[in-house]
Symmetry: C2
Subunit: 194 residues, 2 copies
Amino acid sequence: MESPTRTLPAEAAPAPTTFPDSMSSGDFKAAFRNHAAGVSVITADDGSGPVALTATSVISVSADPPLLVFSVSSQSSSSATITSSDTVVVHLLEADQLELARLGATSGIDRFAQRSAWSRLTTGEPVFHAAPVWIRGRIISRMDAGTSTVIAVHALQSNVAGDSAAGDAPDAEPLVYHNRTWHRLGSHSRITTA
Amino acid sequence: MESPTRTLPAEAAPAPTTFPDSMSSGDFKAAFRNHAAGVSVITADDGSGPVALTATSVISVSADPPLLVFSVSSQSSSSATITSSDTVVVHLLEADQLELARLGATSGIDRFAQRSAWSRLTTGEPVFHAAPVWIRGRIISRMDAGTSTVIAVHALQSNVAGDSAAGDAPDAEPLVYHNRTWHRLGSHSRITTA
């Protein structure tokens, strides 16, 4: 019995994986050494066990509806689980949570070994207690981008209320990453101009 | 020739246009008040004249191929031009460029009024001279996300070389935005731990 070949329309062809005219990866990295970023720990469990990953790519893209985006490198051990999960928890870290940031950035360890440091939400996602602010959300879109996946998340729930002290705390001191170093924001870093 | 990324729907279903079960926009904004971000100015010209926009949403997602992502709010006057342009320039700002950051964040002004402050690349895009680092890239993907558009850019060119002093400068002091205030990173903000 013959199996006729199908002719795929041009639009259905797989996207090319090469990017001609790219600037060099070295120059690209050098340029981004000038760029700082807030630090988050992203957790998920697709049924194969909890994973945690420190990310400096979380951005808020829309408040109504509440949507955020982040990227995960395919080289990360947590990448497959996060990408295949329905929901994730994004912990937005302050400088006092540097230890948690390092936990999620260290390879070859059990990031959930300290059993008292985390628990599960009633919906199942792992949450680290040290984080002052977390957002639980549903993955609504995934986009391949070179060696990473860009993930869009619809925010469903947070431990922070809009009128709470935590949310409005003027003395919150976020953790920031820049060129392989950790920084603390606060009144000491604030630019005051006339 | 550009190489588009593939957009993978979460469950092969189109993204919903309504978002039931959303957390409130107020709570979402409160949570993100804990999050800091590097500051960029994005310029473009789709043929209708130059536009500039200050953004705190630029993230590096892949170095090889070199890809970055940012989001623009549809409420921005520059949004339509940036979204419809083939190419953009992303200026990554240091604290000394606070004036440029404010320029791109101020409504109702001609952001290109000071003619000596900018010029055009040979490829046509406007570039502000004050920025120490810029990257020119081609838009390869656009994703609607609520009231914003998430844009993926393939980096083609930069004014920084990987082995240059600018790229590796340990004393670069990036501009950071947090909860409506501007911050300068540097040795004063660096966290030193044992």
